[in-house]
């Protein structure tokens, strides 16, 4: 990155006038008191770019695609909106708490626990109720992603804990708690869980979604995606051989189901 977007004249001008750049390198040197910064600010990979306020509070994480001056300005726009919403919410303006929570989730500024608490405290406004419900549905989707990430992260590298995570996420899939867009970090552990539980149905759903997600890799010469899919086909055959349940039926009689649908305009 330093040999690309951060070496541009635009960035030099931006960084010298509009922000105070600060670079932290995690060293793992014994006795280095600042090595915890990366974890404290919720870093998930290198490089992690953040905007902080003068007191060191995290204001925004810069998305990978926004690591250039244009992206930084876009992030600043989000921060301005965030600060305005925080002021409005603090003054008790009706309807701002849902906007604030949604933006904080979109900007990756809140933990699952605090977001869940804030979600529980949301009150539907008297006016614009449908807009409120649509925002809440978006919040619920983002909360689900956050919950999944936290569950995955909690296992660390411990193989036994990872097995537990696979079963937990498999249960999520069975209960219909599925991220709105395909995520291999959700579906791969789900499929491992399904394999262990002998559930060919859930395993096959994961396969189908994988195939759709990487469809363009299924034409042309053999590649890693195709090989992975072949392995999945073999695993599915083994699950079926073991005589595991292939029935998706969980409900024994007619009943009503309510789906929350977002994105309808």
């Amino acid at each position: 990155m330093e040999s690309g977007s951060l070496s541009s004249r635009d960035f030099a001008s931006y960084a010298s006038k509009e922000v105070v750049p600060y670079l932290h390198v995690t060293s793992r040197i014994q006795g280095n008191t600042t090595d915890g910064i990366f974890r404290e600010y919720g870093g998930t990979g290198f490089p992690t770019l953040l905007f902080l306020d003068a007191d060191g509070n995290k204001l925004a994480k810069v998305a990978g695609a926004d690591r250039n001056v244009e992206g930084f300005r876009k992030t600043e726009g989000q921060i301005a909106r965030l600060l305005k919403l925080r002021d409005a919410a603090a003054s008790g303006k009706e309807g701002t708490d849902v906007d604030l929570l949604l933006l904080e989730l979109e900007m990756g500024l809140t933990s699952f626990t605090s977001a869940q608490e804030a979600r529980a405290g949301l009150d539907a406004p008297k006016k614009k109720r449908s807009s409120f419900e649509e925002k809440v549905a978006k919040i619920d989707n983002l909360l689900l992603n956050l919950e999944i990430n936290e569950i995955r992260r909690s296992a660390g590298r411990d193989p036994e804990k990872r097995k537990g995570v696979e079963i937990t996420l498999y249960e999520f899939a069975k209960d219909g708690r599925i991220p709105a867009s395909y995520s291999s970090s959700f579906w791969f552990p789900v499929m491992e869980g399904a394999k262990r539980m002998g559930d060919a149905t859930i395993f096959a759903v994961g396969m189908k979604l994988f195939r759709e997600q990487y469809d363009e890799h299924f034409t042309g010469p053999e590649n890693r995606v195709q090989n992975r899919y072949k392995k999945m086909e073999e695993d599915l055959a083994k699950i079926k051989e073991k005589g595991a349940s292939t029935s998706p039926a969980e409900v024994v009689k007619s009943q009503s189901v309510v789906l929350a649908v977002t994105g309808m305009t």
Binding site: G176, S256, V257, L259
Partner: protein, 59 residues
Amino acid sequence: MNCAARVEQALASLPWVEKHEVDFGKKEAHITVNGKFDKVATLKAVTDLGFGATVKKIG
């Protein structure tokens, strides 16, 4: 075809859906399902259209 009609059509095509109705105002789809109900495939039918979907309530 509008969004709600597309969701209704997708739900109607599922073999376990006996009744279906989309409440555009509440952004909800109300369905009655039989014993072959497949939650994952039901959600997939909606998300395939480009909408987000979660099970809000069963029973």
